[in-house]
Amino acid sequence: MSDSTLLATPVAPVAKPWEAPGPNDTLKAPRPPWNDKLLPVIGPIVLFLVWDLVVRFGLIKAILLPTPWNTLVALVTGLAGGPLLSDFLVTVWRTLEAFLIAAVVGVPLGVLLGSNEKAYRSVEFLIDFFRSTPSSALIPLFLLIFGVSDVNKVAIAAFGALLIVLFNSAYGVINARKQRVMAAKVMGASRWQIFKDVLIWESLQPTFVGLRSAVSMALVIVIVIVAEMFIGSDTGLGHRIIDAQQVLNVKSMYAAILAAGALGYALNVLFLIAERRIVHWSGR
């Protein structure tokens, strides 16, 4: 049909004299657009619908995949004082510990290294090397140093996150707008004044990018790779997911997976909000 209309189009004007477009012709008012605020909800709803249909029509056995509704109920009841809550909080705590260590050490060290480019160049290879090394490859090393302790879980996550923070803060200082530095210099600012009044501020935005990636990285390491699945642990979301999988308690497993996802998402959003508040000039 589309073919025939396409072919017919050039002929039409000849066959029919031109008419002023009437009120019901092609010049209709544009359809009211989707309420933009609803758009982000569409994806999740479609996912849950497909998930529901898949379970309903038995495409995946119910023993492997519970209905979305049952999973959500398990998630909510678990987080409302159930055992899922304590595992959730343990994971949050470990992630924050690792993140705080990374931030407290990484930001000042990165800013210092960045303000002395020669110093940064001399350790750049090390930073890039370990940044590129999968954290899981370092598990045995950390086991040797810290043993199978809670310290270890936090230490390896802190290490992974630290490098990201360090790298971003250092580059923030190195790439500071030269002209702002010159402006301060011409006003008679000393090296220290330039550092504290210009360079640190310039590095804030990339530092926030670093902190945001670092907290995600810390969470990933804490949950999946190291702490709670491989090294072994009696607590935490990762432990809960593995445990539930072992005994085929799928409802509990999916609830824990959703909880982990929600945690990662919430942390990211929190950092974005903080960044917009603090680095208010970014992108303007």
Binding site: R177, Q179, R180, M182, A183, A184, K185, V186, M187, G188, A189, Q193, D197, V198, W201, L204, H280, W281, R284
Partner: protein, 271 residues
């Protein structure tokens, strides 16, 4: 190469020739290489006090480089630059950049940007407030200085940059194409403000401009430069009375000055 063979100390000529009476900035034997090629070589220049000097010349002749070297933003390879016989570090200068966006500090409110050079001086809070009040008056500021720079228009930001440069009452103000990023209306406004400030304070100014009309309009002296290696092609005196206005632009003396500058400029470009 040359700079290594003859360090700066040795370069100070035995017979240092001071400029004529009323000279503010004395430049002697200024040498600057870019990528192995001389940009300035044994360059001498006297900048008069209480005057506006407009710097004009062919592309790439180093107009901005010249004022950046005088302002200490770009190191020089050899030579000496003195302000009333003093070195730069004993001299208070102000600088207005072309790109106000990257010259103001966006994490400080506009008013705190203007306060910044005074804070650097260690001035007391009360004195700073008084000085800011003076500046606000003389610029008859009609926008909110408590806003952040990025909340202001380009012209307002450049106005703030000029206020910041003026705040510490500098001896010399350098302006590197201060109008190039502004629309026509704002250019006119800031041009008038600069003239007012100059008439009120007599601060020595060096203005780099790529617009000949602008350069002549504000100038007491038009400094015309050659292609690189850069030398002084000519220094023209422009003596029309201030305040100059839109009418000045059509007076015979202005038109003649602009024409002469243009002829020298074209001669240098073709050379």
């Amino acid at each position: 190469m040359r700079t290594i063979e003859s360090p700066i100390v040795a370069e100070r000529p035995a017979g240092f020739v001071p400029g004529p009476a009323g000279t503010h900035i004395t430049i002697r034997g200024l040498t600057k290489y870019f990528a192995g090629w001389p940009l300035y070589e044994s360059f001498d220049l006297d900048i008069p006090k209480h005057k506006i000097v407009s710097v004009f010349g062919p592309n790439g002749c180093g107009k901005s480089t010249l004022i950046n070297m005088i302002a200490g933003l770009i190191p020089i390879d050899a030579g000496e630059i003195l302000f009333d016989g003093k070195s730069l570090k004993d001299t208070k200068i102000g600088y207005v950049f072309q790109n106000y966006r990257e010259a103001l500090l966006p994490w400080r409110r506009t008013i705190d940007n203007i306060r910044y050079p005074l804070e650097l001086e260690g001035m007391k809070k009360g004195d700073i407030d008084a000085r800011i009040g003076e500046l606000e008056q003389s610029f008859s500021v009609k926008f909110d200085l408590k806003r952040y720079p990025y909340e202001l228009s380009g012209g307002q930001q450049q106005t703030a940059s000029i206020m910041r440069a003026l705040a510490p009452k500098p001896e010399v103000i350098f302006l590197d194409e201060p109008f190039s990023a502004l629309d026509f209306e704002m250019t006119l406004f800031i041009r008038e403000k600069l003239q007012e400030v100059f008439m009120a304070t007599g601060t020595t100014m060096m203005l780099v401009s790529h617009d000949l009309e602008e350069a002549v309009y504000l100038a007491d002296e038009v400094l015309l430069l050659t292609k690189r290696p850069t030398r002084v092609a000519e220094i023209l005196q422009y003596r029309d009375a201030r305040p100059r206005t839109v009418d000045t632009l059509s007076t015979p003396s202005f038109v003649a000055m602009k024409k002469l500058s243009m002829e020298i400029f074209q001669r240098e470009v073709r050379r």
